[in-house]
Amino acid sequence: MKRLINYTPSRGSRWLIGLVPFGIIALAYLVLSNARLAGNPNDRLLPSPATMVETFTQLATQASVRTGTIPLWDDTFASLERLGLGIAISALIGLVVGVLNGGLPLMRAKLSPLVTVVSLIPPMAILPVLFIAFGTGEMAKVALIVIGVAPFLVRDLQSHAMRLPDEQLIKAQTLGASSWQVLLRVLLPQLMPRLMASTRLALGSAWLFLIAAEAIAAQEGLGYRIFLVRRYLAMDVILPYVVWITLLAFVIDRVLALTSQRLFPWFHAEEGGKS
């Protein structure tokens, strides 16, 4: 009898096994939805898949009477713009401060305590401050994402920079590198794949901050829409929107993962080929 840890699924069956939980959840939803709709055909809480597809198609193809544009695309672009901007700014801050903190002990002594404290502030608690400071426009939402994500990236990159073997820094110096050149040619390139990995992890909280900010003050956006239709118990809008957001998040995650594998093969070789 082999040990359980030594059983690995074959390639084909891995897919199949992975799909099973999805199937079970879908089936459970169908059963529950059917039961409710049988009792009350106008039930709003668990709409049938057909209703949801119909509503979603409508949102995705027909211009809204009020604004003259298509709501789904408006929402998607608005949200992705905020998310992208927030993540890009965070990544830039994370990389610059992370490299400086990780590479220069003098800088670390000054900035590290500040970064640690800032990263402990619950971003949602200072959302009102952001709204007061930046108004309820785009700036406040992007700022919330940056405040929530950047300190995490800084800390992660800094600790990764400090874990790089000293031998490499010494080696670079024996090759004649200046401080700047060590940061640029040794630390920075080795932190890039790490940045990609941390960004993938941080995307979850970035979405959280985005939707929270949109729920409170926005004119369009995925989070705005969900919280808008909540008043009418419009589950036929909310559920497809949640699936849509999940799909977007999944695609972004995969794109980052594949880009990283393509650009930094040496990094992923070290990780070991476990899937």
Partner: protein, 267 residues
């Protein structure tokens, strides 16, 4: 004038003395091998030469000037591990030195300058037998190939002193033989001065022109930290490259931890 000279050198961390009463002169072209039990300060000594640690007392001079207290291009180094940059291909690893020297702000060369650097690096890699692996990353190389790469990379700056910290410690015996031939050839061709730490006394005799044994000769059982290690044997290795009978035995015994055998003071 000696290339490297130490007088009454001492290194301590707080109250703990690691090295004491060390004095020597080393001339250009010598190949010094360092042996001794684990934890007796060989690596600390190498760090002093490298400049990552500072001496606590005494003097350590290179060309009669105090050794700089940070690593520099005049002293190349190969460690047992982590000596090459994992994010660069073999070719880029070796080009690194020239790129750093040629481009102060970007640390990268372009166009004709880059082509020249590629040619130099390619020639150097051919010398160490890595011409077939130019575009591989270090993780795709075997341990021996990685060390070949590390040596090629360290020699790009034409260092005056090459420091080797157990460079072949993790390699198979067969590969070691190849590496010995390589390092001997490079040492002769480029008139290097080499310091090499090794655990293998045979290796020390096979490669070096001079052998140093590091050991603690003074012991205080109540305060084991009160005395540090020093160079207990400083042997010129002759052409026959065979260890004297008694020394081979004593050093072997010492490697197994019998430090007490060295109670009488040599040098």
């Amino acid at each position: 004038m000696s290339l490297l000279e130490a007088r009454h050198l001492e290194k301590r961390y707080g109250d703990q003395i690691v090295l004491e009463r060390i004095g020597f002169r080393v001339e250009t072209g010598e190949f010094v091998t360092l042996v001794g039990a684990s934890g007796c300060g060989k690596t600390t000594f190498l760090k002093l030469l490298l400049g990552t640690e500072r001496i606590s007392r005494g003097a350590l001079t290179l060309d009669d000037r105090p050794l700089p207290d940070e690593p520099g291009p005049d002293r190349g180094v190969v460690f047992q591990r982590y000596s090459v940059f994992p994010h660069l291909t073999v070719l880029c690893n070796v080009m690194m030195a020239e790129e750093l020297a040629g481009s102060r702000w970007l640390g990268k060369l372009f166009g004709a300058a880059r082509r020249r650097a590629v040619e130099t690096a390619r020639a150097r890699l051919e010398e160490v037998g890595l011409a077939h692996a130019l575009h591989k990353y270090p993780h795709e190389l075997s341990g021996g190939m990685q060390q070949r790469l590390a040596i090629a990379q360290a020699l790009m700056m034409r260092p005056r002193i090459l420091l080797l910290d157990e460079p072949f410690g993790a390699l198979d015996p067969g590969i070691r033989q190849d590496m010995h031939a390589l390092i001997t050839r490079l040492w002769r061709e480029q008139q290097l001065t080499i310091f090499m730490i090794t655990h293998d006394v045979k290796e020390a005799f096979a490669l070096g022109t001079r052998l140093w044994v590091f050991d603690k000769i003074r012991h205080d059982p109540q305060a084991p930290e009160a005395y540090g290690a020093t160079i207990t044997y400083d042997l010129a290795i002759g052409e026959n490259r065979r260890p004297p009978e008694d020394l081979g035995r004593t050093v072997d015994a010492m490697n197994e931890g019998w430090t007490q055998t060295f109670q009488e003071t040599p040098i």
